[in-house]
């Protein structure tokens, strides 16, 4: 009896304490509110919509009236003849992205960091991050024009006596085209965060390293990289948490049935099935499947990162 009373008392005290805290910093909390609201309205509330993944959703009957079918939609996806192909392509694109596209902005940032002429550095930075602001639709049609049989790349090949290649109808060329254009698009933008991290590395460390006789290369290895390793690890973990998602816009604009074999990914398939054919339940089920796997990957990546380097995102 006594014990419960003290607990409730304590609880009340804590509650009071929180309210006092809120009152005290109310301006800060007001600033926080829109962000919180955003997450509640656009990120948490829609989660209840996942119910339709277990239904045969019909727009006339709504969420409350539609029939429940259990795991039928998940089963449909997992037994689909395309399932393994889609999964493989999605993982391939993400894995290649991790190997080639992920380090690219880091390398660019490190290179820029060594440049001492401010004007040149600024120019390079501007030029590299401009592509990020070009709409995916435009970028995709540029790519298609460049790689067309009478496009720029084939013209260059022919200049050196090469044969014309039909790049976009040959499944083996899809990944290089996708990854290289991805690097071109995002290298500058991606490097901004690393450049910011680099500027916060203590200058005294460099002086100390110089005194110890470290050249530029050694400085890079022992001062610069450790200085930004936190940032790299956080971004890496976030990236791994998206292993099963690929932005579908660009692929959709680039692919065609002849290269489905390598280019068709989960998100494009969901788009075709869910939005073009109106199978909302199926798409919701696949989306949920994706999110769960991504969530598991994220946690695993964080766990291993903590084990190995003692740093993670929480």
């Amino acid at each position: 009896m006594d014990a419960t009373a003290t607990i409730t008392k304590k609880g009340r005290a804590v509650k009071k304490h929180i309210w006092r805290e809120v009152k005290k910093f109310k301006h800060i909390y007001i600033i926080l509110a829109p962000t919180l609201l955003f997450y509640i309205v656009f990120r948490y509330a829609p989660m209840f919509g996942n119910v339709i993944a277990f239904q045969r959703f019909s727009i006339t009957k709504g969420i409350l009236g539609s029939k429940f079918v259990g795991l039928q939609n998940f089963k449909d996806f997992l037994t689909n003849y395309k399932f393994w192909e889609l999964l493989r392509n999605t993982l391939n694109i993400n894995f290649l992205g991790l190997v080639f596209a992920f380090p690219a902005p880091i390398i660019l940032a490190l290179l820029l960091n060594e440049v001492k002429r401010l004007r040149f550095k600024k120019t390079v930075q501007t030029i590299t991050y401009v592509p990020h602001f070009i709409s995916t639709v435009v970028v995709s049609s540029m790519i298609l024009t460049f790689v067309a049989s009478d496009g720029m790349i084939n013209a260059i090949r022919q200049m050196f006596g090469g044969e014309k290649i039909s790049f976009m109808t040959n499944s083996q060329y899809f990944y290089p085209i996708y990854i290289i254009s991805d690097i071109w698009q995002h290298i500058g933008w991606g490097s901004i965060i690393y450049i910011a991290a680099l500027s916060s590395v203590d200058q005294e460390l460099y002086q100390a390293a110089t005194i110890d006789g470290a050249g530029r290369w050694k400085q890079l290895l022992h001062v610069t990289l450790p200085g930004i390793s936190q940032t790299i690890i956080i971004l890496l973990i976030m990236r791994i948490g998206q292993m099963l998602s690929v932005g579908f816009e660009k692929i959709m604009l680039l692919y065609n049935p002849a290269i489905y074999e390598t280019a068709d990914v989960i998100s494009t398939y969901v788009y075709r099935r869910g939005l073009l054919e109106g199978d909302y339940s199926f798409s919701a089920a696949v989306g949920m499947f994706n999110s769960i796997i991504n969530f598991i990957l994220l946690i695993a990546a964080n766990f291993f990162s903590k084990k190995i380097s003692d740093s993670g995102i929480w």
Binding site: S58, T60, S171, P257, A258, R273
Partner: protein
């Protein structure tokens, strides 16, 4: 009872006086007279792109709808979806429960069929209303039973009313087209068979290094796809009807030969190697750039505008004949008198009878005239019983294009609202090349194999979607890969086996049953 009578008589008197007053002020307001057409309606409907280009934000900015408001005294509040967002907007309106009085939508292809929407109490059946309140439409449907059959459901009910191409010529607006001037230059005849086409394309190839004798888009595109070549072999890349039975092209023997023909054209460099990357605009660009000699496309109005210099000419040729003498055309609209633009009256509508009466004006009388020709004296004149469009449309004094003027003044032009389309206005807007082409295509194309617009039950449509979403992707992959040589034609038998295991037989069974029901309508 007495009170009821009094109210009734009062209403009658009111209606009559109002009606008479209406007659006095306007010449055509007898419709207003019975007081049953509502004063206002909210309608969900798309808006034509040319109307928007010509400055309309709303159907009320378009001439025919302004005239219609004058005629019926009914003000319409239009809900227009953004271009390309029609499905989203439709779903949103339905799920949010704020359903307008009427909805123009692709009711033919809603999942589960329009009947499901009647059962779920979203829309009301139309057949009773047509019989009772829509004299123009019911007369039309009685006179054209073949069209009535396309509109009704398997159970004989009518749940939505589509846009109707009321004249046969209107159905024929796509087909094979060739550079006539190239033929002349090379001294060649118009190719009539697949073999002749091969020779002609081969000859085109000699005209220059950049020439793509034939261009097109994705194999299985009805309007522009290179796969349309298989029609001459009496087969199709999709579902079609032969000997009273539904067939799926790739499973049929003839298809192998047809596909081999297309693959050979590709291998010999006669088909644009980038056809898979083309969309209509890219393909058209190549034609207008003098790189292409032969395409399947919509009537050549666009080419006429940019290529009509007295030297060049793109013109329709008859549908090709294959080795077995078939001259099939499977372009769906050759056999469909109705389009997917269709209107339904919703359960949110408080006055379905009055709304039906209002709608009837789009199917006869003055209203139909407004929709097809606009306003007499402004956009057209009657000359010897023929509605001749004026220069206001055809040769606008302010220099506006025919498309823009037609888009904003002629309601039927972009077929965004159900009515009966009239060939007479259309032929005046058509380019010379287009008019000539339509006559050629229409002449001896065999459209008997085109699958009519059959309806599935909810269960059937679920089954079909589930199976076909897999098969369609696989078949598309197969056909396009074989054409470009990424897969060999010898793989076809084993790929057919694969399609069988995916469940094509079950789908065919459903299609055949639906076809039987269609025939028995």
């Amino acid at each position: 009872m007495r009170l009821f009578c009094k109210v009734f008589i009062f209403k009658l008197v009111l209606v009559l006086t109002l009606g008479l007053a209406g007659c006095g002020s306007k010449e055509t307001s007898n419709l207003n007279g019975d007081g049953r057409i509502p004063k206002s309606l909210t309608i969900f409907a798309p808006i034509g792109s040319y109307a928007i280009k010509a400055g309309a934000n709303d159907n009320n900015d378009m001439l025919p709808y302004q005239l219609m408001e004058e005629l019926t005294g009914c003000h319409v509040e239009w809900i227009h979806p953004a271009s390309g967002a029609q499905d989203e907007k439709f779903n949103l309106l339905i799920t949010s429960g704020s359903i307008p009085d009427m909805m123009v939508y692709n009711w033919k292809n809603v999942p589960g069929g329009a009947k499901l929407y009647v059962e779920d109490e979203i829309i009301v059946p139309l057949h009773g209303l047509i019989e009772k309140d829509m004299p123009y439409l019911s007369t039309f449907l009685k006179g054209r039973p073949e069209i009535a059959k396309q509109i009704m459901d398997d159970d004989g009910g009518i749940y939505h009313m589509p846009f109707v191409r009321a004249d046969a010529e209107l159905k024929v607006y796509a087909g094979p087209q060739i550079r006539q001037d190239w033929l002349d230059k090379l001294g060649l005849e118009v190719p009539r068979t697949t073999d002749e086409l091969y020779d002609v394309l081969k000859a085109f190839k000699t005209l220059g290094p950049d020439i793509k004798p034939m261009s097109g888009v994705l194999f299985e595109n009805h309007s522009h796809g290179i796969g349309n070549l298989v029609w001459a072999f009496g087969t199709h890349y999709d579902f079609y009807v032969a000997d009273g039975e539904v067939k799926y092209g790739i499973m049929e023997d003839r298809f192998e030969e047809a596909l081999a023909y297309v693959a050979k054209l590709h291998k010999d460099g006669l088909i644009d190697v980038d056809y898979l990357l083309n969309d209509r605009d890219k393909m058209d660009g190549k034609v207008m750039n003098n790189q292409v000699g032969f395409v399947y496309s919509l009537q050549p109005g666009k080419f006429y505008t940019s290529m009509n210099d007295g030297e060049r000419k793109v013109i329709g040729i008859p549908h090709l004949t294959g080795p077995y003498g078939d001259q099939n055309c499977f372009f769906p609209d050759y056999a469909n008198d109705t389009t997917k633009v269709s209107i339904a009256i919703t359960t949110a509508n408080k006055n379905p009878e009055g709304s039906a009466k209002w709608l009837d004006n789009f199917f006869g009388g003055k209203g139909l005239e407004y929709m097809n020709f606009g306003k007499e004296g402004l956009t057209f004149e009657w000359v010897d019983g023929y509605p001749k469009l004026t220069d206001y449309i055809l040769n606008n004094p302010d220099g506006k294009s025919i498309q823009d003027m037609a888009g904003i003044n002629l309601g039927a032009y972009q077929s965004q609202f159900p009515t009966l389309q009239d060939w007479r206005y259309y032929e005046q807007i058509l380019s010379d090349w287009g008019k000539e082409s339509i006559k050629i295509w229409q002449k001896d194309a065999d459209a008997s194999g085109i699958l009519p617009t059959i309806t599935f039950t909810e269960e059937e449509s679920q089954k079909v979607t589930q199976i076909m979403s897999q098969i369609q992707t696989y078949v598309s992959e197969t056909m396009n890969k074989i054409v470009i040589g990424q897969a060999s034609i010898s793989e076809l038998p084993q790929r057919r086996e694969r399609i069988k295991t995916m469940g094509i037989d079950e789908v065919l069974k459903i299609y055949n049953e639906a076809l039987k029901r269609y025939i028995n309508r």
